[in-house]
């Protein structure tokens, strides 16, 4: 093996990829070659570092220099200054990664990482996900070896049970119990499934694990296969994640070649193999029975339970189904023991949770924190607060199944149970921050629009009930709300929750009910005063030019797409309301902040 004096880690996660990291990687390659450094410096494309907001991210070791927003134009400087001459290019460093005296902080000292504890993401941004040796170098596949050679299936299940791990896909069912049910189920053939159909809008932690550490999922599924007595696994992954699919395919090939998948793994008589199945864009397929139907090649419609998949799952056989993040925890639990995992988290929720932090927050990206961390710590300390000095209004967790959490609950330590108590849920881990400019009625409408579109149509409460709720919300946001609408929404919501067939329908009213619970006044303002306090609902707004502030510069006239603005130069302009489409382009352009929505 070559000895490299320096490693350049370039994030190849979807966020950075979208910001152009592949081009940055290419320029690094040619620059290193033209400086004859290619045998001294190793280029590594890794998984997600988490700080997507400042991508593309490049970290240079051994110094640990953390470069952010690197463009192809920056690369020659980094190579000639830093890599050739050893002078760190300070002005390209992420501002929070350096001390006041310009010394480089270790990653643990950077605000964004300080409060994090990376278990599921431990290898993301550290290893090259396309090299099985690097996974092995960080103790990969050791847990599988230990399990197969030194433990019985019962012992493995007992460790998972004792660890207190709960399903990271949303509902938080104890993982060990699921394993036990499947192990005890009678059947000549059993299956291990991985739910990588991450359809929750605003959640991308599973994608990052698959892209950054695919072998962890393969190893965990193989361990699960041994524990419950299965020899075939399927990973059901969204077709929208091409990078994840590519890396999974590479990882499966490498594992087969190394004899870590296939026949007689570790010289035992245990056989296991994994195949990938692509989803095709149906949110409901994240529900377990729908996912199973989809793998079988049918319409992805859920069915009533029982029988549970543990007894009658894919192709009618006992099936174990866990999500990606749950699996990502398994190898470490086997490796470090149940007590180690137990020591992190709260009484009833052990370990960590990965959140996809998005919306109105400075450091958008992926964060992994111990269960029990408060929203305030996540949003203000890790996330760096709300941009533009705006005021926090709500945090949305759990996507279309979850709810909006207002400022009064910012100090609630988050775990499965505390989130359920305040009317939301953990869900898969999307965490969207909203500020004063977001209308809560509009957000509720947004989620309902989503569930109506994604409802499979099998059961009437979901198919018809959510549609009726959406109609009411549409009316309210258009200024046609009536007295009694709020009560109607509450009643419909309660009934749908009680009677829908699957998790999608049962949780669909949550965004509406939680916003009514905490932001009833906003609903009332829409209905009674025909006003949208946040200035979002177009039908309730007018865009107006404040005559006393307008200098008549004419910039707004140029930018208006519908020619709705007119006026003499150097005198106040006016907007023709019949032409105005309220796009807000003039507001953005006005140098005097003379244009307002109201």
């Amino acid at each position: 093996m070559e000895f490299y004096r320096s490693h350049v880690l370039i994030c190849g996660g979807t966020g950075c990829h979208s910001s152009g990291s592949a081009d940055v990687m290419e320029v690094f390659k040619t620059e290193l070659e033209s400086n004859k450094l290619e045998n001294e410096i190793k280029l590594v494309q890794t998984g997600c570092f988490g700080l997507c907001a400042i991508g593309p991210v490049v970290i240079v070791y051994p110094e640990g220099a953390f470069y952010s927003k690197v463009t192809t134009d920056d690369v020659p400087r980094i190579v000639s200054e830093h890599l050739l001459k050893g002078r760190i290019v300070t002005d390209l460093l992420y501002h929070d990664s350096v001390h006041d005296d310009e010394a480089i902080k270790s990653l643990d000292e950077v605000e964004f990482y300080k409060k994090q504890k990376r278990l599921a993401l431990r290898n993301c941004g550290v290893i090259d996900p396309e090299k099985i040796e690097e996974y092995i170098a960080f103790d990969g596949y050791k847990a599988l070896g230990k399990a197969l050679l030194e433990s019985t299936p019962e012992e493995i299940i007992n460790i998972i049970k004792a660890s207190g791990l709960r399903g990271r896909g949303g509902a938080g069912f104890p993982t060990g119990l699921k394993w036990e049910f499947t192990a005890k189920a009678e059947g000549d053939k059993k299956y291990i499934l991985c739910n990588a159909d991450e359809g929750d809008p605003g959640a991308f932690m599973d994608r990052s694990v698959l892209e950054g550490d695919p072998h962890a999922v393969l190893e965990a599924m193989t361990i699960a296969g041994y524990a419950v007595g299965a020899d075939q696994g399927y990973i059901y992954v969204r077709a929208e994640y091409p990078i994840a699919v590519k890396r999974l395919n590479i990882a499966i090939d490498q594992a087969r070649e190394a004899g870590l998948l296939g026949k007689n793994i570790f010289g035992t008589n245990f056989n296991f193999d994994i195949e990938i199945r692509l989803g095709a864009g149906a949110f409901v397929c994240g529900e377990e029975t729908a996912l199973i139907a989809s793998i079988e090649g049918k319409r992805g419609e859920p069915r009533p339970r029982p029988p549970f998949p543990a007894n009658k799952g894919v192709f009618g056989k006992p099936t174990l189904l866990n999500n990606v993040e749950t699996y990502a925890n398994i190898p470490q639990i086997i490796h470090n023991g149940a007590d180690w995992f137990q020591s992190v988290g709260t009484e009833k929720s052990k370990g960590t949770k990965v959140f996809a932090l998005g919306g109105k927050v400075m450091n958008t990206g992926l964060v992994e924190v111990p269960m029990g961390t408060t929203l305030r710590e996540i949003i203000y300390e890790i996330g760096g607060g709300i941009p533009d000095n705006k005021e926090f209004k709500a945090a949305q967790t759990g996507g279309p199944s979850g709810g909006c959490i207002p400022a009064e609950h910012l100090d609630t330590p988050i775990d499965y149970d505390s989130l359920a108590r305040i009317g939301s849920m953990m869900g898969s881990g999307g965490l969207i921050v909203m500020d004063e400019d977001n209308c809560m009625v509009d957000i509720a409408r947004f989620f309902l629009d989503f569930t109506v579109d994604e409802s499979c149509g099998k059961c009437p409460p979901c198919r018809i009930g959510t549609k009726r709720m959406l109609e009411i919300l549409n009316r309210i946001t258009k200024g046609q709300g009536e007295e009694g609408d709020i009560e109607k929404l509450e009643e419909l919501g309660k009934n749908i929750k009680a009677s829908a067939l699957c998790g999608l329908g049962q949780t669909a009213p949550n965004p509406v009910l939680s916003t009514i619970r905490y932001f009833r006044d906003e609903y009332e303002a829409h209905i009674r005063d025909k006003k949208c306090p946040a200035g979002v609902c177009q039908a309730l707004l007018q865009v107006l030019i404040q005559a006393e502030l307008c200098k008549g510069c004419g910039l707004c006239v140029k930018v208006c797409p519908t020619d709705a603005i007119s006026g003499e130069r150097r005198s106040p302009h006016v907007i023709d309301q019949s032409k105005c489409i309220k796009c807000g382009a003039c507001m953005e352009k006005c140098p005097f902040k003379a244009i307002v929505k109201g």
């Binding site: 692509l278 864009g281 894919v314 192709f315």
Partner: protein, 160 residues
Amino acid sequence: MTASILQDEKLMELKNTIDEFKDKEGPLMPIMHKAQELYGYLPVEVQEYIAKALDIPLSDIYGVATFYSQFTLKPQGKNTIGVCMGTACYVKGSQAILDEIVREIDLKPGETSDDFNFTLNATRCLGACGLAPVIMINDDVYGRLVPSDIKGIISKYRTK
């Protein structure tokens, strides 16, 4: 079957995929993905061909094709514009981006232009939430957008 749609070359490739998955468990979805990739949509002739090859009713195939949003029964434009309507993008103004694109190319979401140059979709979360709001044109991702960026981006994909 019309020869124009079932071109030999594509059909051979489809047949290979069918042979690969035919005897495996749950073969339909991988085969339909391949067909969609080859033809860009699922013409009824292709659905009939798959039905015959797998010996299942055409209605099953049609049922699956219409259930999943990634499968389409209509030909798509040369350039597919996907505007992310995930939550993170939505709270950061993706609706205004979509409105701007609708104005710029005069298509509603789900429509394809008459010259088959553009198809516009309002898509589910693309997973690039850190860059919200985001649009994707074919495989290119554009992030941190404001409505005034749209004109310039779209012009790159207009037919000369």
